[in-house]
Amino acid sequence: MIELKNLRQNYGSRTVVDVDALTLPEGGLTSIIGPNGAGKSSLLGMIAGLQRPTRGQVILDGQDILRMPRNRFARRLAVLRQDNSINARLTVRDLVGFGRYPHSRGRLNACDVRHIAHAIKLVALEEYQHSFLDEMSGGQRQRAFIAMVLAQNTEYALFDEPLNSLDIKHAVGIMQLLRRAVDQHGKTAIVVLHDLNFAARHSDRIIAMRDGKIIADGKPENVITTDVLSKIYDMKLNVLKQQNKQIVDVFGK
C-alpha cells in the first residue's frame, strides 16, 4: 500500500502538487486525469521517488520511500516517465534487459532472459528486438520503454502517458495488457492518461486533478461525469452511456 501524507511540491513560489492524504492500495488500475499543468507528472515522480517533495512523505508499506535502499525499492516499483528521449544507441533488447537490473545487477540469468523475451513479446516488438531505438518510430520506441517497465516485474508499475505516440491499435493493446497484468497477476498499475475514454473504459479508479489538488477520486462512473469534467477542464463535455460504460463526447459543444 502506498500512502501520501501532506505531499507538496513547489517550483519556486508556485505550488504544483498539494495533496493532503491519498491511499493507493495494492491491486487495481488507477488512472490520473487532469489538464496540462495539473501536477500529474510531478505527483507520479514523487511516488516513484524520482523527485524529492518540498514537504510531506510517500510511504510504501509503512516506510518512507526516500529512506528505502534504492535497489530494493526498484524491485517493488517501476516507473515510465513522460519524456524518454535518450541519447544512447541501444537495441530494444539492451533497453528491456536493463529493466532486469534491480534483480540481476547486470548479470542476466536464464530467468531474466525469459522475462526480457516475454516483455518484448507483450508489446509485439519481437521482430525489432535487435534494432536500434534511434532507428525506430516514436510509437515503437514508446513500446520498448513500456516493455522495460514490464520486464522489471514489480508489484507497482507507474506510467506517465504510456499511450503517447501510439496508434489506436497499440494504445488499446497496451491498456488491455495493463488490465491483464492487474486482473491475472495481481499487479498495481497507476497511469496518467489524457484520453478520457481510455480512462473510463479500463480503470478501476480515477483520480482527477487540477492545480495540484485532487478534485475527484472514485469509480469511473462517479468521476467521468459532465459535472466533474467541467470542474477540471472548464469545458462542458457530454457523457454518454454504452454497455454500462461512460463514453465522453470529446468534441464538446
Binding site: 525499492f73 544512447a88 539492451d94
Partner: protein
C-alpha cells in the same frame, strides 16, 4: 504486428567468429611492425645475434610498443566513458578541461615539489584533473542543453582558460617546453623505466568493464538510472575518477593523444551501439590499433626522422571527426 516475418535476426549480435580473430591478428601484426620499424632498423636475426640490437629492442622498442597499446586503449575508453556520462557524443577528456587541468596539476607539482616521485606527480595531475572535470560538469548542469555541440564547445573554451593559466605560470617559471610535451603525445621519448605508470591507466580503465552496465544506464539519464535502483551521482563520481587517474598517468608519461577518445567510440557506436558491454572490447581494440598505426606511420613518412603521433593523429582524427559531424544520426 502479428504477421510472422521469419524471425530472421538482423546479424548484429551474431558476429562471425573470424572477425575477432582477424581483429586480433591485425593488432598483433601492427605490434610486431612497431617493434621492428624505426631509425635503427632491427631485423629478426640481428635481434638474436647482435647485443646492441637486443638492447635497443628491450630499452626502446618494446616499451614504446607497450606504451602505445596501453595509452591507446586507455584514451579511447576514457572518451567512451565521458561520452556516456555527459550524454554527448562530442566530449572527451581533451574537450572538457580534463587534460588541461591535469597539466596544470602536474605543472604545480613540478614547481612546488620538484623532487617528487613520478607516482606523486601522477597523483597531483589526477587530483587536479578530477577537480577540473567536476567543475566542468557542474557548469554544464547549470546550462540549458539544446544543442549537441554546446558541451564540447563550452569544454574547449573552459580547457582554453585553464590552459592559459598554465601557460602563464609555465612562462613565468621557464617550463613552457615541459608543458608542451604533456599536451602533445610523443612516443619517441618512451624508454624502459619511463612509461610504467601507464599500467595504472590500463588497470583503472579495466575497472570500466565491471561498471559497464552502470555507465550505460547512467547514460540513459538520471530518471531511468534511478528507477532501476542506481545512484547516478555515484556512477558519475566513479567515471570521473577513472578518467582523471587515466588522464593523469597519460599526461605524466607520453602526453595526451588528441582526437582518439573522440573518434574511436563514435566509430564503434555506429556499428554496435552504446551498450558498454558490447562496445567496450571493440573500443579498446580500435583504440590500440589506431594508435599503433598512427605512430608507425609517423615513423615512416619522413624516415629516418619521426613525426610525433600528435601530428598524424591530428590529421586522421580531424578527417574522421568531420565525417562523423556530417553523417550524424538523426537523433
Amino acid at each position: 504486428m502479428t504477421g510472422s516475418i521469419a524471425a530472421d535476426e538482423p546479424g548484429l549480435r551474431a558476429m562471425p567468429v573470424w572477425q575477432p580473430v582477424l581483429a586480433l591478428a591485425l593488432l598483433a601484426l601492427l605490434a610486431v611492425a612497431s617493434l621492428l620499424v624505426g631509425s635503427g632498423g632491427i631485423g629478426l636475426s640481428a635481434l638474436l645475434n647482435d647485443p646492441a640490437s637486443a638492447k635497443l629492442f628491450l630499452v626502446s622498442r618494446l616499451p614504446r610498443t607497450l606504451a602505445l597499446l596501453l595509452a591507446g586503449t586507455a584514451s579511447a575508453i576514457t572518451g567512451l566513458i565521458m561520452q556516456r556520462l555527459v550524454q554527448n557524443r562530442f566530449v572527451e577528456p581533451s574537450t572538457m578541461g580534463t587534460v588541461d587541468a591535469a597539466c596544470l596539476g602536474l605543472l604545480l607539482g613540478v614547481i612546488f615539489l620538484p623532487d617528487a616521485a613520478p607516482l606523486t606527480r601522477m597523483a597531483m595531475a589526477a587530483v587536479a584533473s578530477w577537480l577540473g572535470t567536476v567543475l566542468f560538469l557542474l557548469v554544464l548542469r547549470a546550462m540549458p542543453r539544446r544543442n549537441a555541440l554546446m558541451p564540447p564547445l563550452l569544454g574547449i573554451a573552459y580547457g582554453g582558460v585553464i590552459g592559459a593559466i598554465s601557460a602563464f605560470i609555465a612562462w613565468q617559471t621557464g617550463l613552457m617546453q615541459a608543458l608542451g610535451a604533456w599536451t602533445t603525445a610523443d612516443f619517441s621519448i618512451v624508454l624502459s623505466g619511463r612509461y610504467e605508470l601507464l599500467y595504472v591507466a590500463a588497470g583503472v580503465t579495466a575497472l570500466a568493464w565491471f561498471a559497464a552496465d552502470r555507465f550505460t544506464l547512467a547514460g540513459l539519464g538520471d530518471d531511468i538510472a534511478s528507477s532501476v535502483g542506481l545512484n547516478p551521482r555515484r556512477v558519475l563520481a566513479l567515471g570521473v575518477s577513472i578518467v582523471a587517474v587515466t588522464a593523469g598517468s597519460i599526461v605524466v608519461t607520453v602526453g595526451f593523444i588528441p582526437f582518439l577518445g573522440l573518434i574511436v567510440p563514435n566509430l564503434v557506436s555506429r556499428r554496435v551501439g552504446d551498450n558498454l558491454r558490447t562496445a567496450l572490447p571493440m573500443v579498446a581494440w580500435l583504440g590500440a590499433t589506431v594508435t599503433l598505426a598512427c605512430d608507425i606511420l609517423g615513423r615512416l613518412v619522413f624516415y629516418p626522422f619521426e613525426l610525433p603521433i600528435g601530428a598524424t593523429m591530428g590529421v586522421l582524427g580531424a578527417a574522421v571527426f568531420l565525417f562523423l559531424l556530417l553523417k550524424r544520426h538523426p537523433r
